[in-house]
Symmetry: C2
Subunit: 384 residues, 2 copies
Amino acid sequence: MRQGNARRRILLKMMHRGRIRYLAQELRRRSIPSLLVTHLPDVRYLTGFTGSNAALVVVAEPRLTSRLFTDGRYTVQAKREVQGASVRIAPKSAVVEACTWAEQHAPQCGFDRTQTSVASLAAMKKAAGKRGFFVPADGLVAALRVIKDATEVESMRRAASLTCSLYEGLLGWIEPGMRERDIAAELEHRARMAGAESMSFETIVAAGERSSQPHARTTEARIEPGDLVTLDFGIVVDGYCSDMTRTFAIGYGEKSVPSRLKQRWTEQRDVFEAVLAAQQAAVNAVHEGVTCGEVDLAARSVLEAVGYGKYFTHSTGHGVGLEIHEVPRVGKDSKDVLKAGTVITIEPGVYLPGRFGVRIEDSVLVTEDGAEVLTPVHKGWMEL
Amino acid sequence: MRQGNARRRILLKMMHRGRIRYLAQELRRRSIPSLLVTHLPDVRYLTGFTGSNAALVVVAEPRLTSRLFTDGRYTVQAKREVQGASVRIAPKSAVVEACTWAEQHAPQCGFDRTQTSVASLAAMKKAAGKRGFFVPADGLVAALRVIKDATEVESMRRAASLTCSLYEGLLGWIEPGMRERDIAAELEHRARMAGAESMSFETIVAAGERSSQPHARTTEARIEPGDLVTLDFGIVVDGYCSDMTRTFAIGYGEKSVPSRLKQRWTEQRDVFEAVLAAQQAAVNAVHEGVTCGEVDLAARSVLEAVGYGKYFTHSTGHGVGLEIHEVPRVGKDSKDVLKAGTVITIEPGVYLPGRFGVRIEDSVLVTEDGAEVLTPVHKGWMEL
């Protein structure tokens, strides 16, 4: 356990209560008497509950306490974790009991259409048994989550900082001839031992031709001299995800590039420097008030100017937090306006099909006048 | 790479084509001209595609080829992986393009209400632009997936067998004083190095009081002499999940139990033997034609008979395959009838709040006249 954990727990407690209160206020402002929250990261954000089954009813009326429904597996855990809501262990379905309770305590209930399946909505309506009880209320919790508060930023800084340390440590260990999966296994073991709760997504180690697939799966293939290696990984700290990508060359030798590899080396460097310039341009474009489309364009236009535009086959980035992919999407033509306190990734890439690829990614915190790079570890050309 | 991989790839190719054909036949039988499949494990099952964004339209008409839509990140991968469907890289939304294409090639399109959000359905309707185009068609792919074919059973056997070996290897390594997370990190590293693609869920290592939480998170706490340790983990092989739980005692000493721990030891053994008997009773109850409720009752009644019924706070098990939780739910009063070829977990547990808990879990393959235990590694009382 780290020092200061007791203080941290108290802060978290206040945070969760504050978040539910803030949401209740928002519900009153919109004249929505209650809100059913079933998306688990939303439930965690609002109450601190980390179990795998929960339905939360947040009530607008300040004199009523919001209520979280879960099942018998989480009796002890819910009691310990949940803040700002009372807990009810539902013998059957948590969602069904939540709807029944909501119907008894509020005239209407909002729900998020993006987080509710067509089948769930039918079951919810049946449980509440009142026509017009459920009303669409999309993205209310997402709108809170998109701006990270001080506690969240602290967790994300810790996750990002550990990510950088892990990367630096790994560089001294990687050698030609290792398999992609050896590197992933070593990295994940080090991450765990250093205190990561888990990886935030399946680690990508893609060498040589496989680096030309943006979302390559880590294989048992060995890294050959002259390969580019793309390493895309993240860890979870306090529930918050980090996300970083670096691409480096391996095995060119200590002194000079062998003549048979010279042409490949030149091409790799050319692509690499273009991606790096695009990535830096996008980071530089970030500040409160800019649209995500403008940030995307900053990276895209650099690559288009040097003829690599058509090989940049994905968006520039995405929001990150309790989930690895959150709003906003930092993509072409996106009109979403960045706000201070949002954390996004900036990760342009160029992928020459069947040959090689380069991606460079940082997680950045949007500020009033710029971006704080949370993953400020070496990202220039490097040969191991 | 393993021997026989080339043969395996050919078999898989035939499998995927066969699955899509079988589904198309099913659609014709139900007079559904096409089906939109967006749940990624369903897409993988039908086509072999493992990317993170896909919408598949399966057409009933045998002369038409089904079509998979994904994005530019997966150009190379989709070409290599997808079987039985043509591939289209959608510049914008894969689902939107899938709906537009479906509308041009079929008079109606089925969709799964349990896998489609209310918001997605609205977008789908808008893209197709034709009233009554989408019709509910729930669980069609799930109904195929619930019965594992020979290729799937082979993958699940390999995953389960590796799970058993990893467990046995770990037993010789665990010692009192280790932290829960040390054990999880070591296990996960060994799993990776032995060829697991990933863990099938967050590894649970819960010692002492934490074992009384059925879904405890692995912490930094150290294992004390006299603790029970619950180890619940699974790995992924060829995309298929294994799932196994063992509970063992640690640090009681080689010769005899110290007198100060004698009472705890007796209670632990008492609970342990009850859970083991319940687990075995449920395994014995499994065969084609029995309901899931009967299997659950077999375990539950053993625990109720000895007074532990109220501490068994969850279902007896669940289906497992490409996903860690699949149909059927092996729970109280479930009327689902087990079929040969289904793989389910059998995992009763007893949790004494704030004290300790015991859970024992096997994955079993349902057969015509019984159950094949896929995880036949020692599950009796053990003191390390």
